[in-house]
Symmetry: C2
Subunit: 367 residues, 2 copies
Amino acid sequence: MDHFSITAKDPGSEARAGKLVGSHGTVETPCFLPVATKGFVKALSSEDLKMCNVDALISNALHLYMRPGLAVIEKHGGLHKFLRWERTLFTDSGGFQLVRNFSYKITDKGVIFKTPDTGKKIEFTPELAIEIQKKLGSDVNMVLDHCPAWNAPEKKVEDAVRHTVEWAEIAKSVFSGNALLFGIVQGGFSIELREKCTRALAKLDLDGYGIGGLSIGEPKDWTHKILEKTVKFIDESKPRYLMGVGSEDEILLAVANGIDVFDSAFPTRNARHRTIFGMNGKYNVGNMETLQSLAPLEQGCECYTCKNYTCSQVTHYLRENDSLGMRLASIHNIAYMEKFMAQIREAIKEGKFMDVYGERLRKLKGH
Amino acid sequence: MDHFSITAKDPGSEARAGKLVGSHGTVETPCFLPVATKGFVKALSSEDLKMCNVDALISNALHLYMRPGLAVIEKHGGLHKFLRWERTLFTDSGGFQLVRNFSYKITDKGVIFKTPDTGKKIEFTPELAIEIQKKLGSDVNMVLDHCPAWNAPEKKVEDAVRHTVEWAEIAKSVFSGNALLFGIVQGGFSIELREKCTRALAKLDLDGYGIGGLSIGEPKDWTHKILEKTVKFIDESKPRYLMGVGSEDEILLAVANGIDVFDSAFPTRNARHRTIFGMNGKYNVGNMETLQSLAPLEQGCECYTCKNYTCSQVTHYLRENDSLGMRLASIHNIAYMEKFMAQIREAIKEGKFMDVYGERLRKLKGH
């Protein structure tokens, strides 16, 4: 494989370190992508993201298609320009957001829904998802998939797998250009359906595989069982992307199972809700205690926020609901996630991932 | 006068250019102060403000006294440190905000009110206003004044003048240190009371004089009449500060009458509400037309926003209600105001203020 190479394997787990090469540079894996769903990472400029050592972002084809619309982004010269982001850019098709946030109807051809802005009926097909992503010029395109609810009946999950595979075949057939094309494995919480979906997608020899339909409300032990099994079905030479995850403990577990790519709104959403990430676990700012603290948000942290502001100042801005506080807390949480991922990569290269894993989990659980 | 010197006078008006020297540097006048009422300029970092060429800010003693509280600011080493602002810092006492936003009772000794947070009763006296500002370490302290409503009966306005003068006497008697102390002229819309108030304050030989109680809802021609007369009562060797103003046309008129200092939340509030300032007048972003525009917010503008973002991008962020848009629009509007003030100073030095004044007013009125 040209675009993905594994540079180190951890002896104590399935964890691996690698390099994903796209048209806008190389991303070291395991990596974490902040979300720029609507064409920006909430509250942050691209300078802010670079200060946080972010190498890649993920945006959303369907969201951008609706607002601001493709014409606006094409006018700017593509999504990289619109985002002021010269580094690697993933785009999700938006199918997942669609079924979570809108009323819709799924047919064999795609998803039919009405845009909330104009009420216009849109038929969102696998062809359209690829066409949009090509126009956006993203480096990693995701196929349109069908993600059933975690507690959907088996018949629905079977339909979802069939759609997901058929739509991936269509996506592959209409896809062209320099971007990478990733499929998405569905199959709910049936190991058989997950295997069936993965094997069918493997025939398309896509550039990478996302795992969808996890961490969508199901019991944690279901997630872990399906994750562990599904990863094994995916060709180990391909990059594996656990979509929409997430938290540190989930990332550690998934890396141990061989996942390479993550994305989540978790760090920025937490920041806006006054939750700060740190090596000793998360904590809340915005109370009278943190208002007294002259320490940075995290001792020893090298991010812009921690180098320039006290915990007290950030607390004050957040208590007054000012967006400066949301920006500063988001910078810290994103920088924290990037540092966390760098530590994971380092540990894998040193063959010590399981030590780091155990130690982090103990810290996160407060032991 | 050491702290204030007039460097140029306009031949065609009362306009003058000068230098106001405080403990944290020199501010060229006429100048505009962005407001950091609660200990920050909404949505902006101090780096942002410096990029906008801001020389001085104004914060608010009473607001900071309530939240985050003096202890927090003293812990940081004073308000300059808490604001991360090494340049000139004015503080208003907060009396005006108090009577506008809280229920209160005015006695001869000060203003009694309950804090919205804790319900605690506070007696806000001229002594306390000075004590707070000393602890904050601001460069220009304002006395506590009594600002009646624009349509208050004459008896109330007379009381307000009496309080304002008595409280300024008390403020002067308890004041110590290197900061400058400014009085505030009240007197409603009676020229006689304005004169009486100014003459009484002049006996205290304060370092400068604010004009309060204007632009608080009264008809425009009242404002202009009182402004014109009141400025003349103030010793011309003293800096004159028109509090809470404001818009470009008001600033031009006031400069022509000899005002040196302005402050207002106008540029930042407008920015958050999608109104962009420009040499050709204000306009609204956030609509489908500005979403299409690849131009900067203002052609030829050198601010960070205009150098890096299209009007379309800023429109998109604002339409999606993201704080990135509020930050970028605020940067532009503040930079615009600073540029506008620099042009005014330049015009005064060149003896051409009235030409610039006339030309700007014509542009602002769209002729």
